[in-house]
Symmetry: C2
Subunit: 421 residues, 2 copies
């Protein structure tokens, strides 16, 4: 059996590739019909899906899942309704495919058009929340791509039940059902085999813990759109509205702690540190945040822990925040570019030159002036749906929605032009 | 000495990174002043550069260079003038940095802008033509990037002389001179060391033979923008103007043979093959092209060689062309998608539906209707300058000019917004 794995993976990828080709010729209307029918299907087959989910929940302790992880895995009628609603929302979004991004008529009469097209075959590797299965398939296919889904084994039965509904709806609507396929082999080596297939798979998107992302980056032979860590900063400038700054820091840190766009590190200009920090510490105290500071921060806030070199690079994803006092704007910028993860960084300042220098020089996907880091999010940006938040600099940065799952080609029309020079 | 190599490479990359940061704040006027001054400098220092070039030419036999390769390496006053002119042309191009690519004001008042920014540090690995050194530096820096240049050892002295002039001009104009640096270590391992530095180097662009590109792809820890092979097709449809088709095939194959956008393979619809192929063979005969056909092509053109399975995937870069007779459009499309290199593929047809299906379904960077494949070129597209032609699907496809060396970031302005949901 085992030595058939490479062949099975190739077959899977080839089916996806054929479906991707077919998807190039499929209209927005058909894709939307699929989404709406699939939404209905999820609600109609509620019983079967919840039964599959119950089986996953039974296995959860065996996979070592506890409290919050089990909760994330659990579906009920309301959550399933939410997933169906998500599909309807993607149906309502504009189709990015076919948009003309530019073009020109050359002096020799050649007409050149730059046209938005799907990427092709996307391999999506993600963790165990079952809603992600439906969301990702919806976004990928609405933007014209075939998708290979590899979710966590903890949600395997649930994902399979959802994928079955989505594939049946695809056939019904006139889409190739291989536009979405689960990787059926639970064998861990299947991921490695698929990551070799750069001729068939155009892009891999890993979404999960750091070790997953690192493994995929190391093994993938095709481009990777990755979401690494989010070590996000708020810098409170000497020209900040300190009242507002405290609110934004509290919101950035505490509004939801386990997420990538939560703030992990606070930088404060030395001119305002003695006024700002005691007030902030008071505002943060109801949230039980452990503060770790540099020498001066420890002097201003006696009793807080010392931040080590390691702290500056940490994504805590929890109730800890590091604090560094900087002597000026450029020190803050240099610190962020050195220790940050190019995800989301914010400045609090009333001074326009300071804001412009910060937004210009901080090399992050999203740079925010006078608002919470928590706004780096496809929904908050008005994208309607997102498959992740990229920390890469190429292809797509920040929230990735439908448009970010497309590329372009040049279509050139002539009437017999020959090249001379 | 040897164990200092990793450290030397890191130092080089860190200097580039600091320069890239500084470049973010430098105006178009300063970049253009640099380009114009450097153009003058190349002409003024003509003697020194030609002397360096003479040293490279002396070494050429030792590196195994012969006829055409030695000619490509050779500079004279006219060629050097051409290089200087290239810098002036880049100065005249619009600066892509800072372009606002879109944005919105969200219901909560947050203003989101998507802004074009430089990529950062680009590592460019290329072969021995000395003009490429100046071109690449000009394009990279005009688009706001720092560049590390690693040319072929055959042109090392010439490149160094050119880079010295360009760096002096940079200092004069107010640019960080580390915006362009040669990789000074001739040690082959330097490339491997630099390819590890994904924290410092944002993109690597290999431009050269297949083995170079493969090596870079295998070793690079950062994204690669690559120019693989160009196995380009012309498909002559049953609805083609056969006279025009013959001209376009001849031009695509013969106008310049050793280049990536030359046609390597001809597909002909069976309905016109018996009329078209004999005429084409006659038109091609002055160019001494060896034809290799499938069974039917061999029957129509007695005496031509048989094409093997290997031929369909070949980039000959010389006077050979493979010929396949297809039964319909979809067979042509499938053949191109299977054997092509996603570079440039053309169709000759008068039928609009056929043209649209071809442009829609052929998964190549540039798809051409009724014109020569040789038009896939930055100059022909009106880009003014190019650093290569990408066969990747992500980030940039087709000719890569200034714009393709940029990415974007989101700049968000608020007035204290906090996230609630």
């Amino acid at each position: 059996m085992d030595d058939q794995l490479p062949e099975e993976c190739l077959e899977l990828a080839l089916r996806a590739q054929r479906a991707a080709l077919e998807l190039q010729g499929i209209s927005t209307a058909v894709k939307n019909r699929w989404l709406l029918h699939a939404a209905e299907g999820l609600e109609r087959d509620q019983e079967g899906i919840l039964r599959a989910n119950a089986k996953d929940l039974e296995q959860a302790p065996a996979y070592g899942l506890t409290g919050p992880s089990v909760d994330r895995l659990r579906l009920d009628a309301k959550r399933l309704g939410g997933i169906a609603q998500g599909l309807r929302e993607v149906a309502a979004l504009p189709d990015p495919v076919g948009e003309c991004l530019g073009g020109s008529v050359r002096p020799n009469g050649l007409m050149i058009q730059k046209v938005r097209v799907p990427i092709g075959v996307i391999f999506f590797i993600y963790e165990s929340r079952p809603n992600v299965t439906a969301d990702a398939a919806a976004i990928a296919i609405k933007s014209g791509n075939a998708i290979l889904l590899r979710g966590g084994k903890e949600a395997h039965m649930t994902s399979r039940a959802i994928v079955e509904v989505l594939r049946e709806s695809a056939s019904w609507a006139g889409l190739p059902s291989d536009a979405l396929q689960m990787v059926p082999m639970l064998d861990r080596r299947a991921v490695g085999e698929l990551l070799k297939l750069s001729k068939q798979i155009d892009l891999v998107i890993p979404r999960g813990g750091e070790s997953l992302v690192r493994r995929v980056c190391a093994e993938a032979s095709m481009p990777v759109l990755k979401h690494f860590d989010g070590n996000c900063h708020v810098y409170v400038d000497s020209h900040a509205d300190l009242e507002q700054a405290a609110q934004v820091v509290v919101n950035s840190k505490t509004q939801r702690m386990g997420v990538c766009n939560a703030a992990e590190s606070l930088l404060v200009h030395q001119a305002v540190a003695r006024v700002f920090l005691p007030k902030l510490a008071e505002d943060l105290s109801p949230f039980g945040i452990e503060l770790r500071g540099d020498g001066l921060a420890m002097e201003i806030l006696p009793g807080i822990a010392a931040a080590s070199e390691d702290d500056w690079g940490q994504e805590y994803l929890g109730p800890i925040m590091s604090i560094k006092i900087v002597s000026d704007l450029d020190e803050a910028i240099a610190h962020i570019n050195r220790y940050g993860s190019k995800h989301t960084d914010a400045i609090m300042t009333k001074d326009i030159q300071t804001a412009r220098r910060f937004t210009n020089r901080v090399d992050s996907a999203v740079v925010i002036v006078n608002a919470s880091t928590r706004f780096n999010d496809g929904g908050q940006f008005g994208f309607g749906a997102e498959i992740g938040i990229s920390t890469d600099k190429l292809h797509a940065r920040g929230p990735c929605g439908l448009t970010e799952l497309t590329t372009y080609k040049y279509v050139v029309y002539g009437n017999g032009q020959l090249r001379e020079g």
